[in-house]
């Protein structure tokens, strides 16, 4: 099932249970999978047209009236384009608005450089009071949505739209502020966010065959980051690799390096090296940005060598 369909199902449940939950779209409801829900929720869904900054501030106005709006667009437009509205109308004013950005980073694919946001996390991470969440699979997203909905404050949901391979199985327990450990090892810590998690797991399993044991964590919440997990794992392994579908400046690498800044533990960052995106399908873009299992393995070894 596509992630946008899972998200839409979750939103339908939340809106049905609470008439205060509402969705604001900016002419991307079709792309984000929520267009079909409009007839069912005429008093909870509003398409403001192509006016994202308006959408964010309208959301703040509705929140001041006790509503729980979710404002939705592509990642680039839900963050970079409306940074000031998210900062002032929502975060500074402490309004309970959720911001949903779809097609993170290279998953903008054929929309290319203009839509390929490698800066969205960095933009929002520097604004006080915003929780930044990037789900990895349907199970995690389903588990997270009611908890995010109950959280009184701005949460940015960085949402991959398409079908995501399963990472978590039955019995998964979600905590918005706790990272999920996926592999246990003592040689190197790998912290990964979003869809690259599956690639990291492939790399970790191959490294295990070579006798290198990775301590792998999915960091679903990049801000506030689970400091405890980062510190404990890094102390155990003494070498850290971060993997993210985002610029290494301001994203997961920065967040982890900030936690480990006073330690002597090396932190290697695999992400986009301060460059623009470009048009391409995911297999091509993986090669362009080095998001392959082979490169992850090489970077993990680089971190170990730097111990």
């Amino acid at each position: 099932m596509e992630m946008r369909a899972v998200y839409a199902e979750c939103m339908a449940e939340l809106m049905k249970a609470d008439p205060n939950v509402c969705i604001l779209d900016a002419d991307l409801a079709r792309a984000n999978g929520t267009l079909g829900m409009y007839p069912k929720f005429p008093k909870q869904m509003f398409d403001v047209g192509i006016a994202e900054q308006n959408m964010a501030s309208i959301g703040a106005g509705l929140a001041s009236y006790g509503f729980k709006p979710y404002v939705q667009s592509f990642t680039a437009f839900a963050t970079r384009r409306i940074c000031d509205q998210v900062a002032i109308s929502i975060a500074y004013a402490k309004q309970n608005v959720k911001v949903v950005g779809t097609d993170p980073g290279m998953y903008a694919e054929l929309n290319g450089g203009t839509h390929m946001s490698f800066e969205d996390i960095a933009v929002l991470r520097s604004i006080p009071g915003i929780v930044i969440f990037e789900p990895v699979d349907a199970t995690q997203l389903r588990a997270a949505m009611p908890i995010i909905n109950d959280y009184d404050g701005c949460v940015y949901i960085r949402l991959f739209r398409k079908e995501a391979p399963d990472v978590f199985g039955e019995g998964y327990k979600f905590d918005l502020f706790k990272a999920d450990q996926l592999r246990e090892g003592a040689d190197v810590s790998i912290f990964v966010s979003g869809q690259l998690t599956t690639e990291v797991l492939t790399a970790a399993d191959k490294l295990k065959e070579e006798g290198i044991n990775c301590d792998v964590y999915n960091i679903h919440t990049i801000k506030p980051i689970d400091r405890e997990a980062v510190l404990a794992s890094a102390a155990k392994t003494g070498a850290v690799l971060t993997v993210e579908n985002h610029n290494v400046i301001g994203g997961l690498y920065s967040a982890v390096a900030e936690v480990l800044g006073t330690s002597k533990i090396p932190v290697v960052g695999l992400g986009v090296n301060d460059r623009w995106g470009e048009v391409g399908k995911v297999p091509y873009l993986r090669e362009v940005f080095g998001f392959t299992a082979e490169n992850i393995m090489a970077k993990a070894k680089e971190a170990i060598a730097a111990k």
Binding site: V48, Q53, A56, S57, G61, S64, P69
Partner: protein
């Protein structure tokens, strides 16, 4: 109850005093708005200072957030908080920051300060009131310079499309902004025609500093409910109104200094009117 002109004088005096106490502030665009704020809070809005979060109350979003001091002086006169608190304006640790902050100041309905945003917020508030069916009227004040922000017109379209006839905008059309006259900087041309073209009911108030004219306009806006159109009241105001030496500064009165001697002169002029 005191007559509205007396109330306007008292608000103006308190405003001048708190800005002079600090020594500097957004005095021009605050003075131009006093009469509209007085009419709204003392004559037209359904609010209760003893119950500032009252459900179903009318709300004001001062989108030109730098007019915070004028709103605070009005709220203090209305009894939301003691007048003495006005002297903490912009002082360290104050609950009265230069720009409106709903989390700090009793009676402030929306945080504003980044121009254009408050107007969209007000549209969201008006939509919320419609959904709740609580009958409230949502007022929002924008500046003429602020009307150069694209977001104003995004919200204008949205409010008309959603038929938010419970939304009443007031433009403080004092014709001045920081860098000069509005005409010099970026002409608004026929502002009324613009709002009408966006599907709004437009009321032009020739003297936007005359409480009687403002009151009539606000009542006409309220009577417009049911039409499906939001209303924009264009207040032709004077920036710095009531203090001649502030008025005379022109565009330079947007944010200017005021010392104790000037404060005394200003108060004498306001009370002598």
């Amino acid at each position: 109850m005191k007559d509205i002109k007396t109330i306007c004088k008292e608000i103006r005096c308190d405003l001048v005093k708190c800005i002079a106490h600090l020594g500097v502030g957004h005095i021009g665009g605050c003075l131009s708005l006093v009469d509209a704020l007085a009419v709204l809070y003392f004559e037209e809005m359904n609010v209760d200072p003893a119950n500032p979060k009252m459900e179903g109350r009318d709300r004001l979003v001062c989108s030109k957030g730098h007019a915070g001091p004028a709103v605070y002086a009005t709220l203090a006169n209305k009894g939301y908080f003691p007048k003495e608190e006005l002297l903490t304006l912009n002082q360290s640790g104050t609950n009265l920051p230069s720009h409106c902050d709903m989390n700090r100041t009793v009676g402030i309905d929306m945080t504003t300060g980044s121009l254009g945003q408050g107007f969209s917020c007000a549209a969201g508030v008006a939509l919320g009131s419609k959904l709740r069916e609580d009958g409230a009227t949502i007022y929002t004040i924008i500046g003429d310079g602020e009307s150069q922000e694209g977001q104003i017109w995004e919200a204008a379209m949205f409010a008309a499309h959603q038929k938010l006839d419970n939304l009443v905008g007031l433009t403080d059309y004092n014709k001045l902004q920081i860098d000069g006259t509005v005409s010099q900087v970026n002409e608004l041309a026929d502002l009324g025609a613009k709002w009408a073209a966006f599907g709004w009911n437009v009321i032009d108030v020739k003297d936007g500093n005359d409480p009687a004219e403002i009151k009539a306009a606000v009542q006409a806006a309220k009577a417009n409910r049911g039409s499906g159109k939001p209303t924009m009241i264009i207040l032709n105001t004077v920036k710095g109104k009531g203090v001649s030496f502030i008025e005379a500064l022109g565009a330079a009165n947007h944010n200017t200094t005021m010392n104790a001697e000037e404060c005394a002169r200003a108060i004498a002029e306001i009370m002598g009117e």
